[in-house]
């Protein structure tokens, strides 16, 4: 049999390569380029080696925003996961309540992020905002623009409002894929409600929860828009999370070299944590 050799089909892949190059590879390499050099604008560069990396890794400012970022992510995961699973468990499984709940749950996810920030900013204003005003009128000394505790409280509340739905929807999908026979068998085995959750629902939700944790980790670790609009990182540096700090360094101070080094370190931290977490969660899967 004669086989015709024709490799021209490869040309069809070129647009993809060009696209990926321009939206991912080239910008990333630019950042890498900046991270090893000093620039004063006008395209004048001076080689600095690993100086920026060393500086960032030893910078107290970086440690502080990384710490704030870690605490923030930890708290919102701690709240959103159990809350999301709990809401998913209480949602109706059939009838008219299903579409109603699903639509209500999707709403916060559909609102543009800066709008979420603006909404909560107005909502929480101590003098005219519904939340701020109500809290003050029942005796709390609440002012998120001046007290760092209040700023944290408001930021976390906003994120819980904005993103718990994602955990709910994923958990709900996981719960719905459980065959009725599992519940029937558990009923016959005399399992308690807690047993059903512990031995059936939770193991069956493992995959979607892994996904939920990964998504919530990444998004919250890279959070920018909402706190930028709500608190702008303040008061002082109280809610100055990593990406806010990064933008301040890059665009506010025009320290492009250190900012580029920080971006890369930031990127590697996210990648590393995701990889470790994913490997741990999937270890059992590989064994079976």
């Amino acid at each position: 049999m004669n086989k015709t050799f024709n490799q021209k089909a490869w040309y069809f892949v070129i647009p993809v390569f060009v696209l990926v190059a321009f939206n991912a590879a080239v910008p990333l390499m630019t950042v890498v380029n900046y991270s090893f050099q000093e620039t004063f604008g006008s395209n004048v560069f001076a080689w600095e080696g690993t100086r920026w990396f060393k500086e960032i890794l030893h910078s107290e400012r970086f440690h502080a925003s990384l710490g704030r970022q870690a605490i923030f992510t930890f708290i919102i995961l701690l709240i959103q996961l159990p809350l999301g699973i709990f809401i998913a468990l209480t949602m109706p499984k059939k009838g008219w309540g299903v579409p109603v709940c699903l639509i209500l749950m999707s709403m916060p996810l559909l609102i543009p992020w800066n709008v979420v920030g603006a909404m909560w900013n107005i909502f929480a204003l101590p003098d005219i905002g519904f939340l701020g005003n109500s809290l003050n009128s029942i005796g709390f000394d609440y002012n998120f623009t001046q007290q760092s505790g209040d700023a944290w409280f408001t930021t976390i509340l906003m994120d819980v409002w904005h993103w718990t739905s994602l955990v709910v929807l994923l958990s709900y999908a996981g719960l719905n894929s459980i065959q009725p026979a599992y519940y029937q068998a558990a009923e016959i085995d005399g399992a308690s409600r807690w047993d059903i959750f512990r031995y059936i629902e939770l193991p069956k939700m493992k995959k979607v929860l892994t996904l939920a944790i990964l998504l919530r980790f990444m998004d919250s670790f890279m959070i920018y828009t909402e706190p930028f609009v709500l608190t702008g990182g303040g008061p002082g540096n109280a809610t100055n999370f990593l990406s806010l700090d990064l933008v301040k360094m890059a665009l506010g101070q025009f320290d492009l070299g250190p900012a580029a080094a920080m971006s890369l370190i930031y990127f590697l931290i996210v990648l590393l944590i995701c990889w470790i977490f994913y490997s741990l969660m999937m270890k059992d899967e590989a064994r079976t």
Binding site: A185, E187, I188, G190, A191, Y199, P203, R287, T288
Partner: protein, 354 residues
């Protein structure tokens, strides 16, 4: 251990029922002896799983009652009824070991650790799971998992009835045979009432002493495998059981006799009632012979299955299948056939006339 009585059981998944089709079960009456092995046989959607779930207490019937040893259990839940049920697909607790899976129903009933240990080991031995007891259940193959499901049902010695809902669907054919014999063996050993739901006639006929055939939410016949084969009470049983199924052809009934193709067909059952909207004659392919005179048929096709031949023939009223031994000489073209009168039955509106 209990005998099971079902009285006028009906169930519908709808809140309003307008016609027969709205009912998943219609007026089911059953008396099952303590310690018997029973099979519920029928095609998908005939209501057999509904009936099973009602007996186990997972479903509350719309009408009728369920008695265990003459005690009304209609409103009790599965735990109070003390039953075991094995489902079509393996249901295991993924994160537990095989041992913990088997021990789970016992733990929930507050048995002591030593009791649990001896029972789990005994049942694991029986199902050949002993070597995997400490493995995680999720790592087993499909049939290993189904053995765990079986084990969880069989581990409790106090159950009133053990129910199987097509438990061998996911099992490989060669293992099916092994597990089926195992179940039969278990039944003889522990002597508990067992109900086996299946759409596979071979499974039902080999497992059970009594087979209940269901069709469109009703019981059409209850009997031993031999009874179902030799004297189907309903045309559905004739079709469904046997391979190929019974020949059922339109006929007329006059003066208590079957008139078919202008001839009178002799039969051993006496025909009394005659007012039916549809009358048919039924004869199994096994009980038809070639003869010198009788009904004239045209031979259409002969398929040799090795042990016997299946002959497709055609007469004026329709197609007739004949099963003959492999050595039978098959005439070509047209032939005459006669029916064994002992196994010739008349059916009025699908039910046997006798």
């Amino acid at each position: 251990m209990a005998k099971i009585t079902l009285k006028k059981l009906s169930h519908s998944y709808l809140t309003n029922q307008n016609n027969d089709a709205d009912w998943a079960l219609r007026g089911v009456d059953i008396d099952w002896k303590d310690g018997g092995a029973y099979a519920l046989l029928g095609p998908s959607g005939c209501g057999k799983t509904t009936l099973l779930n009602i007996i186990s207490g997972l479903l509350k019937p719309t009408e009728g009652e369920i008695l265990f040893d003459d005690k009304d259990v209609t409103t009790l839940n599965p735990v109070e009824r003390d039953i075991a049920q094995i489902f079509q697909f393996p249901v295991i607790y993924d994160t537990m070991t095989v041992y913990d899976n088997l021990a789970f129903p016992l733990k929930n009933r507050g048995l002591s650790d030593t009791e649990i240990d001896s029972k789990v080991k005994e049942i694991a031995e029986m199902l050949e799971l002993s070597s995997t007891l400490n493995n995680r259940a999720s790592g087993l193959t499909a049939d290993g998992k189904q053995k765990i499901s079986l084990g969880r049902g069989l581990v409790r010695s106090d159950v009133n009835v053990i129910m199987f809902d097509e438990p061998l669907t996911v099992i490989d054919p060669h293992l099916k045979w092994v597990l089926r014999s195992k179940l039969k063996e278990l039944h003889q050993k522990i002597n508990r009432t067992m109900i086996y739901v299946t759409h596979d006639q071979i499974e039902a006929l080999t497992f059970a002493d009594q087979v209940v055939v269901m069709h469109e939410g009703q019981i059409v016949q209850t009997g031993t495998p031999v009874e179902l084969f030799e004297k189907p009470k309903h045309t559905f049983v004739g079709h469904f059981i046997g391979s190929p199924g019974m020949n059922i052809l339109p006929c007329e009934i006059k003066n208590g006799q079957i008139n078919f193709e202008g001839k009178i067909l002799p039969t051993n059952t006496s025909i009394k009632k005659t007012n039916f909207s549809k009358t048919q004659v039924g004869i199994r392919p096994e009980f038809i012979n070639f003869s010198n005179d009788g009904i004239q048929v045209k031979i259409k096709r002969v398929s040799d299955t090795g042990r016997h031949k299946v002959i497709d023939t055609e007469c004026k009223s329709g197609n007739i299948k004949i099963l003959a031994s492999a050595s039978t000489e098959i005439p070509t073209g047209s032939a005459h056939i006669s029916f064994d009168q002992k196994y010739t039955y008349a059916y009025g509106d699908n039910w046997i006339i006798e």
